[in-house]
Symmetry: C2
Subunit: 350 residues, 2 copies
């Protein structure tokens, strides 16, 4: 959002230069509808709110029960909506959350971020703090039936404000990945193909690059195995990759493809018969999921270390039940062993 | 162990200066019985091996079933014995492990450790690596009955070798802490009193200092609550605190007090009736235990980041089952609320 567009959109009632980012945005929202000419902050906020509603409705339709909806505020600026469905008919736990955060990045944080984002600060002098904005949608779904896979998705937009109030650096990040307890080739192919299609519509180079990034990121290195069968993952998508409009269009497309794909997969698996041993295997795999989220995931660790963070919204990703069995090894050639084989050697599914 | 004692104990068959620490110790063990004149490395190794057997037997007597015993080697030097009893009659999971590690500390590790241990390196020049020895006993017991508390204990000895082969810095660390799901004053008092008695026999200042250290260390700061009702915890006990003999005597005394105290507590609780809701509360508390171990515990994080570590021995601490319920809050004035009250405001039990 250039300062020019900004001035066009808001009559000069107040001296905008004296307002913080959150105050400016609140005023814009009071006085104007969000359009394609609005700042990306407000467009992204509007978009993730709409998608959250759509996805919640799609999952409720599969489960037959309702999400609990909690709206919360951050006293430092912004807030979020956390929707959780727990112990449902189909889902053991499903969490769909959005957050919109206005905050201030301390000097140490600026210096860290600057490594990846040269344009974070003009010139050599690093300010003591930098206003930032972050908006995103995160979801995780743990079905009850061990034949139905766990899924995770997160798309986010980050922006800093320069001291003069104009936009500084910005970038998009996100992705989506599938974590089955049992491999169904049909599910893996459908999941990856829908992501590849969304990627290909924007850039043929995205899918191979983001698929590899996903395999590398969602990796339990202390176990020498992937968390699941991957998907796509990316961070720091900024103007060095594509212009903002095209990146936003790509984010929208990727997020749009989620609900139809995942609900199709779950509908195929949710009523399949399973044994007690298969349920136990699911518990062990859930334990590994917890290990990744608490030991390796940067988002979780950032959240847990942020003062004033809403812990229940961060840890809604953890399953309702999980287990750790000492020295558990799947039997050779079993379906469980076939999963582990794929986790140790990620496959190309499409 | 002074170089003088060392030479006394081992006839000069080999030029000791050309041997690594592990080779020296292997030779000593082949040729001599371990006595009070042996190097502390070997005395500590012998001690933790004996205590492991005793504790395993004491827990087997309570449970009525046997531990699985796995001996393992580290290819870099040393190894361990991991004993696990899983899905027993009384214990859901009990792990009692010892490890004896000979390794090499890289320069970055030396510099980090030097902050707390001025005598780690002579002079200003930091060597590229430093041989070290570490021996310890770790245990964790998760009973089935939600009225019986989880317990954790760890005692360890660490020593470095100077480039000329003599002992460099050394220190003891350890402690023990109790994590009940329901508060029984009698258990809390007995547990703390047995630790205080062991401390008081050596130094009246130990218990208050180590009790506070424990409350501060076993703290889930993202939840603003303690992991449990504490016990004692300490690290870096070296010659600035006490001489080596007296510290070893304290470690022995503390470890000796464990089995009689904990088995008495479990025997009082293991057959108490409980409801399904109380079992669910136990699952939620187990989830918090997992959070502490995977997010905050330095030992776990050090272990998981050590190349070649035996992950199953590190993660034997995780419960067989655990759970995460979104926004679970105990009812006001319930027994569950009383536990949380104590976790938020640690008590003086003795």
């Amino acid at each position: 959002a250039s300062p020019f567009l900004y001035k066009m959109a808001i009559p000069d009632k107040l001296n905008l230069d004296s307002l913080s980012l959150v105050e400016r945005d609140q005023q814009t929202k009071r006085e104007n509808a969000i359009t394609d000419a609005s700042p990306m902050r407000l467009r992204m906020e509007k978009f993730v709110k709409e998608k959250q509603k759509e996805i919640v409705q799609a999952l409720e339709a599969v489960d037959g029960s309702k999400f609990q909806v909690d709206e919360w505020q951050r006293k430092e600026g912004g807030g979020g909506i956390t929707c959780v469905l727990q112990d449902g008919n189909v889902f053991e736990k499903a969490g769909v959350g959005i957050s919109v955060v206005y905050g201030s990045l301390p000097k140490a944080g600026i210096m860290k971020m600057r490594a990846n984002h040269k344009n974070l600060v003009d010139g050599e002098k690093i300010p003591d703090s930098l206003e930032f904005f972050a908006a995103g949608l995160s979801l995780i779904v743990h079905p009850k039936n061990p034949m139905a896979p766990t899924v995770h998705l997160n798309y986010r937009y980050f922006e800093t404000a320069k001291p003069d109030g104009t936009s500084g650096a910005w970038w998009f990040g996100g992705g989506s990945d599938l974590t089955p307890n049992y491999i169904f080739g049909e599910d893996a192919v459908q999941f990856h193909k829908s992501l590849k299609d969304a990627c290909d519509r924007h850039n043929k180079g995205y899918y191979p690059r983001f698929k590899k990034w996903c395999d590398e990121y969602f990796y339990n290195k202390h176990r020498n195995e992937s968390r699941g069968i991957g998907g796509i993952f990316f961070d720091d998508l900024d103007e060095t990759v594509q212009d903002k409009e095209n990146l936003f269009a790509f984010i929208k497309d990727s997020l749009d493809s989620f609900a139809p794909t995942y609900t199709a997969i779950v509908n195929r698996r949710k009523d399949m018969p399973f044994t007690e041993e298969e349920k136990e295997w699911q518990q062990i795999r859930r334990g590994r999921y917890v290990e990744f989220n608490l030991v390796h995931d940067r988002g979780t660790s950032f959240g847990l270390n942020t003062p004033g963070a809403r812990v229940e919204s961060i840890l809604m990703s953890l399953p309702l039940t999980a287990g750790w069995k000492y020295m558990h090894e799947p039997k050779p050639d079993s379906r469980e062993a076939k999963l582990v084989e794929v986790l140790k050697h990620p496959k190309e599914w499409v």
